[in-house]
């Protein structure tokens, strides 16, 4: 299944693409209700179209920082491996275990 963008979340194909993109495996029984719910929210969100935003910048950040205020490049102690792997659900002596991944 590809990670390309969904057509729309409302049709079954779009919803399938969306759940794949979000890595959420959904049982078929739930899909219809979910599709409907998303459709309602998107309809509601469409209200935003009526708000005038010509020329408005979308940036939310406060004023830019200076480079002087950035973190100095100093090394700080790292975790010991056992502590780094403390919460790992599956591990071997060296690291986190995953099913064999091919390529890249």
């Amino acid at each position: 299944m590809s990670d390309a963008s969904p057509a729309t979340p409302l049709d079954p194909e779009g919803l399938a693409a969306l759940t794949n993109l979000a890595r959420l495996e959904l049982p078929d029984a739930e899909r219809a209700a979910l599709g409907e719910h998303l459709g309602r929210i998107l309809g509601w969100v469409a209200e935003l179209d009526s708000v005038e935003t010509e020329g408005v910048s979308p940036s939310q950040h406060d004023a830019p920082r200076t480079t002087e205020s950035l973190r100095p490049d100093a090394v700080r102690p790292s975790l010991e491996r056992e502590r780094a792997l403390l919460n790992a659900p599956a591990r071997d002596p060296l690291g986190f275990l995953v099913p064999r991944v091919v390529s890249e």
Partner: protein, 498 residues
């Protein structure tokens, strides 16, 4: 039991003076939780060993003649989306069952540095997503005033624990009203600081540009005490900044001599129609009368983008959440599906098994609004509308000291009442989401009650101020609190009548 309804300030003073010990307070607190919390469901877990050990250390330092911090010995509860080192932190989700953080959230560390004692972790809506604290894997928290009703959310456990006299101070988080709305529904004080004043390091992220950490207490003065400890720039969080012109304890200083005389409050015209419950509006009007009697002027102002706030919030918060929650994949920490084939299946199944339905809905919506082809129409558009909303607030705040209105359009609703219709649930945030979008400070304080079925249910009134005007806002709230002069009432059946 005597500590239950005392203020944090008073308890800290008693520990510092030697009238009581941190240990005694901690033991009393743990015992009360044991006795009473079964009915409320505030605490997901308590850390008796850690708390007693911390209390003993504080007492030892006092015995050695050292000066203790501003919250000396005060038992506090921490919302379970704030990391506590070594103490299980789940964000109210199956996904993080058993997760033990390797570090304390900065806000928690500051409380500890002020000698507060962390008693345990408080219930919440999963990952902060919700307004009722009903649906988590560990069951609902109940409103202390009426156990058939919700405490609000997502910081429901934090509000109920304070309102129920289990702790005088708790930490919550607020992304769209999650501190203020439960504070209003439970009849306590809840503060949402200006964005960037309290560090988010260690807060398990929901929506990064909206999330803030804040205190819940039973008085404005206690909130000020807590904020003096919590507020400050943190090198671990690049979105923080220092309070402009800060003195050592700016909040407590601002409260000295606080009064409403000569202050101007702006009542938002559009809010009346949006207040579902007539009783709530009456309580707000009564609060306005009290304010006027104390010398304040009340002016009507307009916020014409009010109806755009919730859709804007939906788009922005779910987009950021979909990205923030991407890290939960069963590989580095958290829940991992037992049966899965390849890596894609492993991730997808782990997430589907461990996230609740509301979280899944929001992740999907957020993923959609960021996706190629829709990003401009949804996310970018919403961010632009957000700027307009902030501008609308700035304009409404011109010439007034703060905006005033109800915190929640209705009092605490019954458990299960709004479950079926998520959109109905979102609507309760109408008065709170826009302050997160604009990054402004806001506080909810008790303003009387309504009794739809005989039981008194708290009503909260909300004050909203200009960005970074937090100490002045608290002062105003203190003035209003004094003007309201509400009689002290306690929830029934939890011990400790007035």
């Amino acid at each position: 039991m005597s500590y239950a309804w005392e203020s944090a300030a008073s308890l800290a003073a008693q520990v510092r003076s030697g009238e009581t010990t941190a240990r005694a307070l901690t033991e009393a607190c743990l015992a009360r939780i044991e006795a009473v919390d079964g009915e409320l469901g505030c605490f997901l877990r308590t850390d008796a060993e850690g708390a007693l050990s911390a209390a003993d250390a504080i007492d030892a330092r006092r015995a050695a003649g050292e000066e203790l911090g501003a919250l000396a010995g005060v038992p506090v509860g921490v919302k379970d989306n704030l990391c506590t080192e070594g103490l299980e932190t789940t964000a109210g989700s199956r996904m993080l069952r058993g997760h033990r953080p390797l570090f304390d959230a900065s806000a928690v560390a500051r409380l500890k540095a002020a000698d507060a004692v962390v008693i345990g972790k408080l219930n919440l809506d999963e990952f902060g997503m919700g307004s009722s604290t009903e649906h988590g894997p560990d069951g609902p928290t109940r409103n202390p005033w009426d156990r058939t009703r919700v405490p609000g959310g997502s910081s429901g456990g934090s509000a109920a624990a304070v309102a129920g006299g289990l702790v005088p101070l708790s930490l919550g988080s607020d992304t769209g009203g999650s501190i203020r709305q439960p504070a209003a529904l439970c009849g306590c004080v809840g503060v949402k600081p200006s964005y960037g004043l309290v560090s988010r390091s260690g807060l398990i992220a929901f929506a990064s540009s909206l999330d803030v950490v804040g205190p819940l207490t039973r008085s404005v003065a206690d909130a000020a005490l807590a904020l003096d400890v919590l507020v400050g720039a943190d090198p671990a969080d690049m979105t923080t900044h220092a309070l402009p012109g800060a003195s050592p304890a700016p909040f407590s200083a601002a409260l000295e001599g606080a009064s409403l005389k000569g202050k101007v409050l702006g009542l938002v015209r559009e809010y009346r129609e949006l207040t579902e419950d007539a009783g709530v509006w009456s309580a707000v009007e009564a609060a306005l009368d009290a304010a006027r009697a104390a010398g304040a002027e009340v002016r009507e102002v307009s916020l014409d983008l009010t109806s755009a706030a919730i859709p804007t919030y939906q788009v922005v918060s779910t987009a950021e959440a979909s990205s923030n929650l991407g890290r939960y994949d069963g590989i580095h920490y958290g829940h991992r599906a037992q049966e899965a084939g390849d890596i894609v299946q492993l991730m997808s199944r782990s997430r589907a098994e461990a996230f609740g339905p509301e979280v899944q809905r929001r992740i999907l919506l957020g993923t959609f609004v960021l996706s190629s082809g829709f990003y401009d129409a949804y996310y970018l558009k919403a961010q632009k509308v957000r700027r307009q909303i902030a501008a609308a607030f700035a304009q409404a705040l011109e010439g007034v000291d703060a905006l005033i209105g109800p915190t929640s359009p209705l009092p605490a609703f019954k458990l299960g009442e709004r479950e079926q219709d998520p959109l109905a649930m979102y609507a309760v945030d109408v008065f709170t989401v826009s302050t997160n979008l604009a990054g402004l400070p806001a506080i909810s304080l008790p303003a009387g009650s309504v009794s739809p079925e005989g039981t008194a249910l708290p009503v909260g009134v909300q004050l909203t101020g200009r960005r970074d005007s937090d100490p002045a806002l608290l002062a105003l709230a203190a003035g209003l609190e004094a003007a309201l002069a509400l009689p002290t009432t306690r929830p029934a059946g939890l011990g400790g009548q007035a």
